[in-house]
Symmetry: C2
Subunit: 343 residues, 2 copies
């Protein structure tokens, strides 16, 4: 850094020997200026490390480079990983991701959208809470800001939806469980917060009927996002009540399964697929921790690389084209069976 301080673009234009409008062009797209002037600018940049004032830039640009990313619960490593993936894609595309977590609460979800509104994002990627979401306020938001939903669908909201094909993925694991042992019961919350849970329920029922088995639902009480806790508490109750008419349990998601595994362990019930085991437990999602449960958890992985990539692609194309999508599309990706020790 030499001599005088560079306070603004005009100062920087002076020291670099290039006019301010050209400097402005450079910062909006380095490719848009001639090679020789680009070199001059970047040489000056090394000496003076000037950067445009982001507030002045955003005040004057027709559109910001911000893309909002709202997930239901960052405390859940599953969403933390998705968020990380999506953030990377957004940065790669030259945009600025803003990550917000709704912490499982609909009010926080709306608050997140409100603070995004203040930032005038070019677009928003929203993984909504689901059933608890305040539809009307979200609808109002999606009217103002181009929004793509992912993970959990809210009917007709947003420009598009990308998620998992629960029907396929649950069918996959029900098939596997049935052909490798007793048909599973379905262990879930009575009133889940997540729309995927309802789809998984009906997918389970459909798969069982297709295979000629009687579907059996074990629906337990429990609110909120502390699934492990619920799986542990209610699972323990179920295991000790003699309520279980089969030796195979399919959980609505991995986090419930993790709780149930813990409860089985405490009750001295051996879980696994080998002969000595008394119980098989399977989950859904391929949660980051499911490899390290005891035994490791057999589950179905979601293709969230595809979900992430498609969601980002969709919002970027809307932004660059400047037009809202004419017909809302829902795209579902298939899951893959992940065989481990628990079933």
């Amino acid at each position: 850094m030499t001599g005088q301080k560079i306070k603004n673009m005009e100062d920087f234009a002076a020291v670099s020997g290039i006019s301010r409008p050209t400097i402005s062009k450079y910062f909006n797209d380095p490719e848009s200026v001639r090679q020789s002037t680009r070199k001059k600018i970047e040489e000056a940049l090394e000496k003076h490390n000037y950067r445009p004032n982001i507030y002045a830039v955003n005040q004057n640009r027709r559109q910001t480079k911000n893309i909002g990313l709202v997930v239901p619960n960052l405390t859940d490593p599953f969403f933390a990983e998705i968020a990380r993936t999506i953030e990377g894609l957004i940065v790669e595309a030259g945009f600025n991701p803003l990550l917000l977590s709704s912490h499982g609460g609909p009010d926080q979800e709306i608050a997140n959208l409100d603070s995004l509104r203040a930032i005038k994002p070019a677009g928003v990627l929203l993984a909504p809470l689901g059933r608890a979401s305040l539809d009307k306020q979200i609808a109002e938001f999606t009217r103002e800001v181009p929004t793509v939903l992912f993970d959990a669908n809210l009917e007709d909201l947003g420009e598009a939806f990308f998620g998992s094909d629960n029907h396929q993925s649950v069918g996959l694991i029900v098939d596997y469980l049935c052909r490798s042992g007793e048909p599973p019961v379905f262990f879930e919350l009575k009133t889940p917060i997540n729309p995927n849970a309802y789809k998984r329920r009906s997918a389970y029922i459909a798969a069982m009927e297709r295979l000629g088995h009687e579907p059996q639902l074990i629906q337990v009480d429990g609110q909120g996002w502390n699934f492990e806790e619920i799986g542990f508490r209610e699972g323990g109750r179920v295991l000790n009540s003699g309520q279980l008419l089969t030796n195979t349990v399919l959980c609505s998601n991995d986090r419930i399964a993790i709780g149930l595994l813990s409860a089985a362990f405490e009750s001295g019930i051996k879980v696994g697929r080998d002969d000595g085991a008394a119980l098989r437990i399977a989950g859904h999602d391929d949660h980051p921790f499911s490899r390290f449960t005891c035994p490791s958890l057999t589950t179905v992985s979601q293709d969230y690389d595809a979900i992430s990539a498609s969601s980002v692609e969709a919002i970027l194309s809307m932004i660059s084209s400047g037009v809202r999508i004419e017909a809302r599309k829902e795209t579902l990706f298939e899951g893959k069976l992940v065989m481990r020790g628990s079933a």
Copy 2:
């Protein structure tokens, strides 16, 4: 919403019947205007839902209301929970938190600080990666922006540090393990990324010597933040090598312990503190998942409510006073023993 559209503060001043400078005063502090005019403004606000342009505001304010929050890895639920707590405290104080994760990489950490710089935050709370952190660049940042470190310390960087008293907490669990069974070996990474790991190592050695036992370190290879994976892989190796001279293992953190538990299970080694068990395993941190391992993990909890509250308090007082702290202070909080099934 009635009639014309409110585009800016001047429009809003017109419809509310109050002058623009007074409106401006109101938004910067609603208490600073007379009750009667405040009422007028808020009535108009309900009709027209105007909000000041955040970019124009921040361009002109001497200081923004932004507070940056950088954590090493949001994928780790431990940090996700801390982040959530801190975010809440920042919002309560009327500031705007900006959460960034370094994803375990020093380059990302610097990139995070760079993008924070662009936002001109009033202050930053930084939980650094530790050993991998690029000290010089962080030092440069802390010179420009008031920064408080927490969780992991970097010598002399930032205005203050708040963290856990590893010496006390490790001493606590070593004491417990020694009086309830065989003295523990210490299971850790050979070259940990986190400075806390080094403190825990020396705390373990000190505690063992104090109790008249020979310290034993098992130091395994492994890079990055995938602690469960390392604990599983290397732990399995150690368990099957006959290298273990005691039946008690204290892990440097819970995530390693989770991996080790999984490895023990796979090897058919019964873990627990009752008579039938062959191995005791303890961790450190009280990770959110440690309640649901099999068996549940005995560990030491960090007082991160205190760490969060103190860190936020420190940065807020610096912001409001406008002065940097004269002498850097390091404050450590005590951990608590969390007895569960594994040891």
